[in-house]
């Protein structure tokens, strides 16, 4: 028989406000196995923990039940407390009487009744608990960073700086991400290339860092400290180690009509290309969708002009397998499609552009060499209308927009408006806003400068309609402060499109078994206290894949993710989770049901010899679980038709005892 102690927490008034904690402690006193029952204001506090430790010693407890907040919050805390008092940490059960009870009940009587039931269930379980000891596993001292934007770059540099090898996998032919496309950056207006490209060069030159560009992660297996990853290096038809990046091929290729994605399709590139002059790695890539040689076998110009002999039309995709101890997701964002926002006429007029297109139009390396010219006729625009929150904060139109605030557009719109007025003082600039959100160091000052020094017309209201008429864009908008509807003849309309996570993120999350929110941003382990870790051990988050962010925030998060990775890679061994599945070989009939449901590939089969009661031997196929890979999800225990599979710490009889305790009421 166990000797169980029950500890009921008030959590200030969080629990005590709707649950009569004294009555709960009193009611649980008489449950089977309970030898001690107490309540206290804050069990998780030092004093609360001391109280538990003292009781364990004084009453010689063999198990404890803490009636408190969710186990997600403090299970680890109380397990440590128990261990410090010499009790096996797995002899601790939490009855969640806060999130699942006091917070959702209004009435003291029913809240108390439910808290007692939850307590009884936990006691029933502890009665069947057995001490568990976690296993150990080694740590592969190498990190993988998926995505080579500023987030991935910063994380990789910081990890490499601590002496660990890092691989960056980037889908594009070059690292750099969106920041490489920007012109100047708020709030200090330094040129994006001037601060980004030196970091890209650092990455290229750092011998601890390998870049797999034009590549993607196609398979992830294993677990924290021991990930087995398959990387697909797509054929770029150019030998990376031989190409010198001279760019001759990109000038001679006769296929000139390929939309240039780096300039968002506002000009063309060749079928063989280097995205931009400072690309890293600086090697050419052949776009197989457009290359005549690859499509018809006739051309071969690039091979002829390449003096280094780097072109290889026979190249094939390569698959690389590598082991990693930690994985950092840094897959970034993209502006949403404007196709469904007919009211802004994005698809009807070339002169309605997104803000990212505006960046390219003002960038010295962009399609207009930095002169702000209208895409339709190359004229200088004299009236420009900026529209904020396009598709952001859009709850009604889930199929076209996003419910959240994209966070960066107020600031970059202020930047665009200010820079336009600075360079072209003869231009009238209007910004339509719902709210101007500029909380950040020197951010509001920046926005006010756009208004006060540069004379940008900020108008509280929204654009309702843009109609192209002749070479003008008729903008119909509201001015809520003047109480007027405005009609502006604009030359250029710039839409601050909402941003969304990269479309590849969902597939990646599935591979990593990392969780996402409804918007496909990766979820952090705790929104306040563990912002750069995913709930999946060994998977970390860097940059805008976790939520909208500007560069300063992205870089700080990238550094934080790196420090968490370094902390992990510094360890030689990791203690595992003992709550893993275990099969009873005598009951297992080798049916493979469990193997099919295990999402982590933790189950294997082997033929084993068994002695039968009649002294004969028999070879039987039985399942066994790799405890280092098993995550304890329990799927197999439900799938097993013969009841051979059981989960340590959550055994079938323990769960049934909990259910029985609840049903007895």
């Amino acid at each position: 028989m166990q000797r169980i102690g029950v500890f009921v927490c008030h959590c200030g008034t969080n629990i005590a406000g709707t649950v009569d904690v004294v009555a709960v402690a009193e009611a649980l006193k008489n449950e089977p196995g309970v030898v001690h029952s107490a309540e206290y204001q804050y069990m998780c506090s030092q004093a609360g923990q001391d109280l538990i430790k003292a009781a364990i010693k004084e009453h010689n407890l063999s198990g404890i039940v803490v009636c408190s907040c969710s186990p997600r919050m403090h299970e680890a805390t109380f397990r440590k407390t128990a261990a410090a008092a010499g009790l096996n940490p797995y002899m601790v059960e939490i009855a969640n009487i806060r999130e699942q009870c006091s917070w959702i009940h209004k009435d003291m009587a029913s809240g108390t009744e439910k808290a007692i039931i939850l307590g009884k269930a936990a006691i029933a379980k502890v009665n069947l608990n057995t001490p568990l000891t976690p296993g150990e596993s080694p740590v592969t001292k190498r990190a993988l960073v998926i995505g080579g934007g500023i987030a991935g770059i910063q994380t990789a540099l910081d990890i490499a700086d601590a002496g660990f090898p890092v691989d960056i996998v980037e889908t594009k032919p070059t690292i750099g991400g969106k920041m490489a496309q920007l012109d100047k950056t708020f709030p200090t207006l330094d040129c994006a290339a001037c601060i980004l490209t030196p970091k890209m060069v650092d990455v290229a030159q750092n011998e601890k860092i390998r870049i797999f560009s034009y590549s993607e992660v196609v398979d992830v297996r294993g677990f924290v400290g021991n990930f087995d990853v398959t990387i697909k290096k797509r054929a770029r038809y150019v030998k990376e180690d031989i190409c010198t990046g001279c760019g001759l091929c990109t000038e001679k290729c006769p296929q000139k009509k390929v939309p240039n994605e780096f300039n968002l399709g506002m000009d063309n590139r060749r079928a063989i290309y280097i995205p931009f002059a400072q690309a890293v790695p600086k090697v050419a890539t052949i776009d197989a969708d457009y290359c005549t040689m690859l499509k018809t076998g006739k051309c071969g110009v690039c091979a002829k002009v390449c003096t280094a002999g780097a072109i290889d039309y026979e190249a094939k995709d390569e698959f690389i397998e590598e082991k990693y101890g930690a994985v950092v997701v840094a897959t970034g964002f993209n502006p949403i499609s404007m196709d469904k926002f007919d009211e802004f006429a994005y698809n009807q007029s070339k002169d309605v552009i997104t803000s990212l297109e505006f960046e390219r139009l003002t960038n010295a390396a962009g399609p207009t060499a930095g002169k702000l010219l209208r895409p339709s006729d190359g004229e200088h625009p004299h009236t420009i209308v900026f529209v904020q929150c396009v598709g952001s904060r859009c709850e009604a139109c889930a199929e076209k927009g996003k419910e959240y605030c994209s966070k960066i557009c107020c600031m970059y719109t202020a930047k665009h408006a200010m820079l336009t007025r600075d360079k072209y003082p003869d231009t009238d600039v209007y910004v339509f806003y719902i709210d101007v959100r500029t909380p950040g160091k020197a951010f509001d000052e920046f926005y006010r400068r756009a208004v006060e020094e540069y004379g940008v017309h900020y108008i509280k209201g929204m654009v309702g309609k843009v109609s192209p008429e002749g070479n003008k864009l008729k903008v119909q908008a509201s001015d809520l402060i003047a109480g007027k509807q405005l009609h502006i003849d604009a030359d250029l309309v710039v839409l601050a499109a909402a941003i969304e996570p990269d479309k590849s993120a969902r597939g990646l999350a599935t591979m990593l078994t990392a969780s996402m929110d409804t918007n496909d941003f990766f979820t952090e382990a705790h929104p306040k206290l563990r912002p750069v870790e995913s709930p999946t051990a060994g998977v970390f988050l860097s940059g805008t894949c976790q939520g909208p962010k500007d560069i300063p925030e992205t870089v700080s998060q990238a550094g934080a993710a790196a420090s968490k990775v370094i902390g992990l890679l510094c360890k030689d061994k990791l203690t595992g989770n003992p709550c893993v599945a275990q099969s009873d070989e005598m009951m297992c009939n080798g049916c493979s049901s469990c193997e099919r449901v295990c999402p982590y590939g933790a189950i294997t089969y082997s033929d084993k010899e068994f002695r039968m009661p009649d002294r004969t031997t028999k070879i039987r196929r039985v399942a066994s679980v790799n405890p280092a890979v098993c995550q304890g999800c329990g799927a197999c225990t439900v799938a097993c038709p013969s009841g051979a599979m059981d989960l340590n710490g959550f055994k079938n009889n323990q769960i049934m005892a909990e259910v029985d305790a609840i049903c007895k009421m």
Binding site: E343, C389, R393, C394, E395, A396, C397, G401, I434, K460, G461, M462, V463, G464, K465, Q476, A477, S478, L480, G483, Q485
Partner: protein, 130 residues
């Protein structure tokens, strides 16, 4: 008086099905509205004034007859507030309080002429037959 106003407000919210608290005061409805200059109170103001219970000016305003029920504001509102439905509900309140000015199917043939667009008849039914 207080009570009557509150009853009216609740009735307007009930028959329109609109929750004015969802409005984020962006003004896109009024930016879209083709009848803006004809109206004294504009779609976003209807939403705000119904929310704050300022009904008397709306009930007296000609604006309720100036709305074309084109539903542009409904289509464009990022928060799904549906201002036109609210305006219609205010209008219905006036009509009902004046003594149920209902449009019957039988009245239609006499009103038909070649110029009348069908959409208008549909709107008329929406406005007057509830």
């Amino acid at each position: 008086m207080e009570n009557k106003n509150e009853r009216r407000r609740e009735e307007i919210l009930r028959i329109s099905g609109v929750n004015p608290r969802k409005c984020m005061k962006c003004g896109k409805c009024s930016a879209t509205c083709p009848s803006y200059d004809e109206m004294e109170y504009h779609p976003h103001e209807f939403v705000y004034m119904v929310e704050s219970g300022e009904l008397a000016p709306l009930l007296e305003s000609k604006s309720i007859y100036k709305c074309l029920t084109c539903f542009a504001c409904v289509e464009r509102c990022p928060r799904g507030v549906e201002p036109a439905k609210l305006i219609e509900a205010v209008r219905l309140t006036v009509i009902r309080e004046k003594g149920a000015n209902h449009l019957k199917a039988d009245d239609i043939p006499a009103k038909l002429d070649e110029e009348i667009p069908q959409q208008l008849l549909m709107s008329a039914f929406r406005k007057y037959s509830k």
